[in-house]
Amino acid sequence: MKLLIANRGEIALRIIRAARKLGLPSIAVYSEADKTALHVQEADEAYLLGPAPSAESYLNQKKILAIAKQAKAKLIHPGYGFLSENASFAKACEKEKITFIGPSSKTISLLGNKFKAKQLAKKCKVPILSDSSTEIKTIKELHTYCKNIKFPILLKAVDGGGGKGIRIVNKASETESAFKLASSEAQTAFNNPKIYIEPYLKKARHIEIQVIADTKGNIVPLGERECSIQRRFQKLIEETPSPFMTATLRSEMEKAAVALFRASNYVNAGTVEFLVDPKKNFFFLEVNTRLQVEHPITEMVYNIDLVAEQIQIALGKRLSILKKPRAKGHAMELRLCAEDPDNNFYPSTGTIDYLEEPVDKNLRLDSSLFLNMTVTHHYDSLLAKCISWGKTRKEVLQQLKKALSDFHISGIATNIPFFKQLLSHPSFKEGEVDTQFLDQVFTQKEKKEQATPFQAALSALLHHLKKETTTSFKDKETKLTKWQTKNRVHNELQSRNWKKAFSG
């Protein structure tokens, strides 16, 4: 039984590993920009989708289904992003008798509309933030609504997810431009420009509950993930357990999440997102009807393979666990992205001309990186996830710090230097963070120390060497083969470490 992966990057590799573990052959699809990508090399079969832009490749439903039929795939895993929360794609799969690995199209469409999802939460007696009672289509409607409203507010895409189509509005004068951006981003990402309004909680944490459910009616919650470290509504660090969590709060939130799963007839893995205020009141945000980027930290602490579990559920099998396993230790994930910390964290593109990845006992690297890889602006900026497990949070922080100093990438800018500074920040070390931490508390300027003669010496030296070597750098190509061999060994070590972490 073949499994087609309708995705790219690290998540495509992650799904290939799970398929292989279950003895299922994997089929990769790829765009012209990804011809040399690792998921294409690793899968048992690979098919070209089309040109680089997502709309012509990874979002091209017809083409993906045609390939699935041609290659005789019985299962499709959508990963995250792209078509993963697209009800019409799930429905098209159902029609073609191809198993979509995720909840039914009905469940996706119910929970995918954030507005309807909130009403369902209300029915389940799950607390929600008060909000607009209608979906907003035009700026005129928004103006009418905003007449008697308290700022700041959030504008959010009705069909949103992944932090796209969201804008904060601090005062009335910002409304129009924020609406235009949110609405147009929502149109591009979700093909629906409608937005809704939510009050913006300034001091809140973003905490989510992982749940898995099978076709037999078993629903098991798997604890929380703390995701408060965000920039522009994109998560950067996740950890479990949350330093803020108590046993009572966890069990209340898990109960709420399970109630929502039951009410929406949810089958497969999913995540219920909440905002938690400083007084430990929680409010329902949305349900992500897919595998999350940050799923590995739950896997490390609960010793479960969520992707394998997803595939088994889709095949009609019972969950491998019928009640929540005991949590062990602490896990944290850093999302390494192609972003320039010296240029407002805007995306950085280019070709990777040197790569050294860290290896450690309890370190798991879910990475799509390889030497000579070209990073384009067409897709998400996520390059790799650095996941650490340890007995304590302190142990995890130490291991991640070491991993970062052993991680060397050249040719594009990455957020590695930013993580190095963040992991040393006193508030972060104590786990005292909220969703505003990055924007308000943590600024790199603050870390700037007095300039030293050593820094000046190095500046002049690097500048001088750069001038000398701009033309000669390309001569390094003879060394690449040696590097690739080394890199291959690295990858094997990674997966070996990972297996060990799972069995132990």
Binding site: S54, G162, K164, S177, L181, S184, E185, T188, A189, R232, A338, D340, P341, D342, N343, N344, Y346, P347, S348, T349, D353, Y354, H377, H378, Y379, D380, S381, S405, H408, I409, S410, G411, I412, A413, I416, K420, Q421, S424, Q444, K447, K448, E449, Q450, A451, P453, F454, Q455, A456, A457, L458, S459, A460, L461, L462, H463, H464, L465, K466, T469, F473
Partner: protein, 168 residues
Amino acid sequence: MNYKVEIGKKRFPVKLEKSGQDWLVEVGKERFTFSDLNQLGSSLFSFTHKKKKQFATTQFDSNKCTYWIENTQVNASVFSPTFSKEKNNQQSKSIQINSVMPGMVKKINIKVGDQTEKGMSLIVLEAMKMENEIVAPQSGIITHIYVHENQSVETNTPLIEIKKSGDK
């Protein structure tokens, strides 16, 4: 080789000298020795200083040198004695707005001849699925638009030229 280095408000005179495989660097009265210098990739260097191997991730833009070493980010300007003083663009009545990132021009909100106010949205750039607005840094009149919608741009691609208001 002699250089002048500026970091923040501090200025340092720096003298570089190659001695065998090592580099001797003098900053005022202080001396540093760097050995095993190696450019690993276009933006990555490694070296040994005081017996400790270190890595520096770099970014260069003419005389600007930015690097990260361990937890520290250093933004320096490096001038050689022959390097003409920084170009002074203060006199210019027009400003050119360049792309701050690679991406695609999603939308152009203005046309040549339009009057802009400071903070007005000029162009929407899309990169890696996020939309970013390029706003006018000052009021003026649009004199050039160098790009069209759906065009891919790199960092520093010229986008728009604005002529300051009140000038001829």
